[in-house]
């Protein structure tokens, strides 16, 4: 149970980082942390006590494997996270190019 709570704490740290930080790069790091917290939680859901990695090899009998599905899904989620982070980082760099700052309080052209 405590590992789930740690995941929750990690998730909350990420959310705090997104909501509270003013630097664009720190916000991106916050997004990455939330993503990783969810992925970690997903992996932990699939774990069972004393489970073995779900890899089938010729000379072993299959005993007590952990659930392989979350691992496959998390791989997909990681790829998606990579794409999002790369895109947002590129956007942040372009923002810096235009505004000359990473401070989110100074980037306010849109209002109304």
């Amino acid at each position: 149970m405590s590992v789930y709570l740690l995941c929750l704490i990690l998730f909350c740290i990420g959310l705090y980082c997104i909501l509270r930080k003013r630097n664009l790069i720190k916000i991106i790091i916050g997004i990455a942390i939330t993503g990783h917290a969810v992925n970690l939680f997903f992996i932990l859901i699939g774990y069972k006590a004393n489970g073995r990695a779900p890899i089938h090899s010729p000379d072993q009998t299959i005993l007590n494997m952990v659930d392989p599905l979350p691992q496959a899904l998390v791989l997909t989620a990681i790829v998606i996270g990579l794409a999002v982070i790369a895109l947002i980082a590129a956007i942040a760099m372009r923002v810096y190019e235009k505004y000359g700052t990473f401070d989110i309080t100074k980037i306010r052209r849109l209002k109304g």
Partner: protein, 499 residues
Amino acid sequence: MTHMLLPLFVVIPLGAAFLNSLLGKRIKGFSDILSAVATCALACISIYSIFIIKDAGLIVYKVGGWIPPIGIVMVMDGLTVFMAVTVNLVAFLISVYSISYMEKYTEKWLFYCLFLLMVAGLNGVIISGDLFNLYVFLEIAAIASYALVAFGTEHEELEAAFKYAVMGSVASSFILLGIVFLYSVTSTLNMADMSLEIAKGGSPRIIMLVSVFFLMGFGLKSALVPFHAWLPDAHPSAPAPISAMLSGVLIKSLGVYAIIRIFFSVFGATPQILNTLMLLGALSMMVGVCLALGQWDLKRLLAYHSISQIGYVVLGIGLATPLGILGGLFHLFNHSVFKSLLFLNSGSVEYATGTRDLQKMGNLKEKMPVTSATSMVASMSIAGIPPFNGFWSKLIIIVACVQAQHFAYAVWAVIASLLTLASFMKVQRYGFFGELRGRLSGVQESPFFMKLSMILLAVICLAGGILLLPGVYGSFLEPARDVILAGKDYAKMVFMSVR
């Protein structure tokens, strides 16, 4: 062999997008033609599938030949077809419009590549029968839309895109977290199977928690009011065809459709969820229109109206009476038509005059007859003037509110509708009537393709009421309504058609 149509909804746009990135840079004009042909084919397939569904009821396509609880399935039922027609019809017309409009940007092939990826994501969300697959397609569409919002790479675009991307990815995190919790409870990702597992009533508290996560995640994607902050920035900043796509289709496909599918077909609608949906709908309706009244930027005003109109859709669906759902769905279709048209009009005005500020326009109806006529049609339609399509759907929603004894919501909807009318009278008065400003004397009507797609959308606006006529109603709106009404019978129908 009709089953072969289902994967095409995803394959055609994906294949076209990558062909575009391969050849579009080298061959001039290739990406225009490819994108128009691909979206036209999609629109034809989706219209053809109306007739298939009318006979078959529900089609399940087993990807890779694996049976449902194990493999990924694609499910096509009345609601899917309804959404597919909406998405692909609008996408086709927008693709035609972009041929001329996107001339002012460089790297046109890149635009089409992202556009087609977004269409692939939207179609995938609609057609998927697997929750994680839905999430993946949702992310494809969302990432493509982040990039498209930033397409102009100017100050405002980048700021809006950053805001949108951050909020969108937080929403995605919550959606994924919800999926994880659901997987931990039900040990399956197939939506039909999940629905059966939930029906056994194992852990209602976790389902409640997941409902909250999904309401927040998909609510943010569909810009319901507490989660709407990104929309008024992101939608005006994108190029006009993409604003039309985002407002017209994306918020409905990623947001409203996903809410309907998960809350009605998988969880089974409980009174708490329905009341929350109605409340959120009513709130967005009023907040959106009130914020829109004070805007002078044409596209920003339209973006606020998107929030308001989505409120109508969600209110109608939240009523969960046959008439309310019908009204909500009909309004969803109508809104995607007239809001796309309005955004295309604003793009056309911006193309010709170079401004979006209503105070700097005036008497464009002499210079741009087609644009102003079509915008007139769309404004009447969104404000709910008979005989345009917006009138019928709003009328149905209000009547449904009265029937379901929610008189306050009915009055609320009428007031919001009046405010919408006021707001669009302002647009017409300042934008297209009034005196001509000196510096706009050299303005010309937009090119042929832009006019063509605007006229076609205006015709759909005018003819929208036909969908309620007995013969047509039974094949397009009724199956979609029945799917929502059937609720958790979705699972039974899926497993029945597999056998």
